[in-house]
Point group: C2
Chain length 266, copies 2
């Protein structure tokens, strides 16, 4: 099997995984019984949806690629016998999900020897899917299918910044984040993985977060890089392990943000 | 014309207004040329969309109800010769719009002698519309059409809180907000009008904001009240003028929030 045939097969399979996850999750979205249900069963709808989606994804991987490893947010690690490992967050943005907001997403990454080579961010309620692989990225939205291109901002002034919640930063991190924020044009909060998709699509210029897990970021790296952006940790090293992450639409914005974040880099 | 016939006609007309606004706005959403276009023409896409939508709405009102007044966020006040006045925010959440996020909305209120009697919140990209009038509220979403019902939370503990950005509060307001936040289960940021729709739909329990304009809140009051919720200012008085607003899904949550906000009430 040639490399390009292999990646084509893997991309089609990743679409199948995302379809299965969406089908498992959507029946639980906006069911409006979070509180009562949690008391009755011990599981709230988002946990049920998270687990159902990850079970569906794991079953498909085991059947099709039994030698691939799997790391999932819900059920942990299953070792593989090849260099490939799927890294899954069935619902990134569980708090958005609980609040009825359609900005959560299913994150599906495929790593090879630890490096993310394919990423999918799927939002089944919106019918939106963002995909990156092989140095390219594309999105399917209500406006159709299109290649993704980040915006080539030359500096922080004029840039659109996003983070999920500034209160999630440690005090020293917050000082550094506020220094970046003070130079940007505007800041949007509360977006989880959706903000990264908007970086790839050229609408947001910069996302700064900390405390991420590998499954929070691995799928987003091929999408943003394939669209022309840059994703690293706050030291400028690969962000494959999560932690402090800075994702930018351009190298210039990335460099200016890093300079301000360096003092708080772990 | 009987009252119920009149409100039925006005509701159908409000749907027409929302349809027209959506048609005017959507071609400008995610055009991805915000920065370049602003420099070239002096108007960015969100301003063009805002103005196009308000022009479309005003033209329809003038043609159909020439004796109705209009207050719009973009073009100000047009006095009417009747007790009716339409209050319009074509795009509430312009910063979300600019960032490509689908949580902005078109707000259309009809007031009679100053009291909101009909409200529409429309999100054309999502195909979602939330409507309230005559003590009832209903929503049209991807999941179909359904009556809206707030959640009957008994106290702040367990409640889902939302505000667009805590940094928008004055210092004393922020202290009061943080006191509420400390008792709630979780907080979602960045939602503008969409958070109020989620209160009506029973997913969010409480929204606290300040500095609102009348056109930011008037359309949302009949929606939340029609779904069983409560909307007032931080003193417990009608919030028709905007300013400090607290919107709750239940009287109990509203009362507990008011008790903590009272010290910072304007």
């Amino acid at each position: 099997m040639t490399h390009s045939t292999e990646i084509t097969s893997l991309l089609a399979f990743a679409d199948t995984l995302a379809d299965a996850a969406g089908a498992a999750i959507l029946p639980h979205f906006r069911t409006g019984i979070a509180v009562a249900n949690k008391a009755a069963s011990g599981f709230d709808p988002v946990t049920l949806a998270d687990q159902a989606a990850e079970r569906a994804i794991r079953a498909l991987i085991t059947a099709r690629y039994p030698d691939h490893g799997v790391l999932g947010e819900e059920f942990g690690e299953t070792a593989g016998a090849s260099g490939y490992r799927w890294v899954i967050d069935p619902i990134d943005g569980t708090r958005a999900f609980i609040a009825g907001l359609p900005l959560w997403g299913t994150l599906i990454a495929l790593t090879h020897e630890g490096v993310p080579v394919l990423g999918v961010m799927d939002q089944p309620y919106l019918g939106e899917r963002f995909v990156g692989a092989g140095g390219q990225a594309w999105g399917q939205t209500a406006l159709g299918r299109a290649d993704l291109r980040t915006r080539a901002m030359g500096r922080l002034e004029g840039a659109l910044l996003s983070t999920t919640d500034p209160d999630l930063f440690a005090p020293q991190e917050r000082v550094a984040f506020d220094a970046v924020r003070a130079r940007c044009q505007l800041t949007r909060l509360g977006c989880d993985c959706y903000a990264y998709a908007m970086v790839a699509a050229g609408h947001i210029d910069l996302v700064i977060e900390s405390g991420l897990k590998p499954y929070d970021i691995l799928a987003l790296i091929p999408i943003i890089e394939g669209a022309g952006g840059v994703v690293t940790d706050w030291r400028g090293a690969p962000a494959f392990a999560g932690g402090q992450v800075v994702a930018a639409g351009s190298a210039a914005v990335h460099a200016e943000a890093l300079a301000l974040l360096a003092g708080a880099a772990a």
